[in-house]
């Protein structure tokens, strides 16, 4: 259920994870799962097309990193990505507050 609910907000979550520091796909997906306490558990392979789309939209940039045990594509937030994240975060908080107000009012 939690996985279903995040589907409309994956852009926000992925941008937020990458904001902390540049990360390759496996790190991004692991961080998403760990920071959600295991609630957001997606088919991991489906996250890559989303990262690619965010990159195509100019919100992320990526480059190959050959320094480790194996070659990885590392993603980092761009300036437009940072602005989009701020906007999305603000929008989400307004939405969450509104939902909470309604739920609280019903109790």
């Amino acid at each position: 259920m939690a996985t279903d609910r995040i589907k409309g907000h994956l852009d926000l979550l992925l941008l937020s994870v990458v904001q902390a520091r540049p990360a390759h796909g496996y790190e991004v997906i692991t961080a998403l799962r760990e920071r959600s306490g295991g609630e957001f558990d997606l088919p991991e392979g489906t996250v890559y097309p989303l990262l690619h789309r965010l990159e195509a939209d100019g919100l992320l940039a990526s480059s190959w990193d050959d320094s480790g045990k194996r070659r990885r594509r590392v993603y980092r937030l761009t300036a437009p990505g940072l602005r989009a994240l701020a906007d999305e975060r603000s929008s989400w908080r307004r939405y969450a507050t509104s939902v909470e107000m309604v739920l609280g009012g019903a109790s």
Partner: protein
């Protein structure tokens, strides 16, 4: 390529081969997707091994968490924005099979519904022969032979039509259920073709086809009351009603998809 010691292909290599076969698009982008998938799977397998799994189990667990090749390829192909002719043909075939299955189940439902309507409105209204139309003698002889309790040709034809309507339509419904089960089974075992058709295309086609069918069947029912085209007009209305319900069902699904807050991002996850 890394093979296990017994010569069989490793789970990760088998997965990557399967994924690669399903991807379609510019070579550099396909190569990037496979490279990222391989790095991810081997990182995940390493982590699983570090957690105490044996190597084969670690690879299998990594592959399982990554998602089926069909799902991942479908999401990736959408981002690649490309589909091969083969993918288009198989996706269209899959959609056609789904529509056939729904259509057959709808026909199956129409049999009992027509019988129920006959119990309320009379068998003549639903199954009766057209008024004032004389039937060929051979048809009458056949009906009277198989419907021994009938008082005449018209009644025998009506009884025969009622029996055929229920029996043949229920058989079509069973066939539709079997086809539905086959499609669900293929989906469950990951043999569903990559969905390269536009989002909501299947629901649009289904809703339109069944909606048009509902209108045509209703008009035929109206016409039948005037010119007596065929056996009782009640059958036309039952068929029209079922088609309308199926059409509404398709369009409701389309609306749900279009209203989903998941819009573009989720497309990749729901195929």
């Amino acid at each position: 390529m890394t093979d296990s010691r017994d010569g069989s292909q490793s789970a990760i290599d088998a997965y990557l081969d399967d994924l690669l076969a399903r991807l379609h698009g510019p070579a550099d982008r396909v190569r990037r997707i496979v490279a990222e998938a391989e790095a991810h799977l081997r990182d995940a397998a390493d982590a699983n091994e570090a957690a105490g799994m044996d190597p084969a189990a670690a690879e299998s667990a990594a592959v399982e968490r990554f998602g089926s090749p069909a799902v991942v390829a479908s999401a990736a192909n959408r981002s690649l924005g490309a589909a091969s002719p083969t993918q288009l043909v198989t996706a269209t075939g899959w959609l056609a099979a789904k529509l056939c299955a729904v259509g057959l189940v709808a026909v199956g439902l129409s049999g009992p519904l027509a019988t129920a309507l006959a119990a309320i409105a009379g068998r003549g209204y639903v199954f009766g022969l057209p008024a004032g139309v004389s039937m060929p003698g051979s048809a009458c002889a056949h009906w009277l032979a198989v419907q021994a309790g009938a008082s005449g040709c018209a009644q025998a034809g009506m009884f025969e039509n009622a029996d055929d309507t229920l029996g043949l339509r229920v058989a079509a419904g069973v066939l539709g259920l079997l086809l539905t089960g086959g499609l669900l089974l293929l989906r469950r075992i990951g043999r569903r073709p990559v969905d390269v058709l536009p989002r909501g295309f299947g629901a649009t086609v289904g809703g339109t086809v069944f909606g048009c069918a509902a209108v045509v069947l209703f008009v035929l029912g109206l016409s039948d009351s005037v010119v007596a085209l065929n056996f009782g007009q009640g059958q036309w209305y039952v068929d029209s009603l079922i088609s309308l319900v199926v059409s509404v069902w398709f369009f409701a699904g389309l609306l749900r998809r279009l209203r989903s807050p998941a819009a573009p991002a989720v497309t990749a996850l729901t195929t």
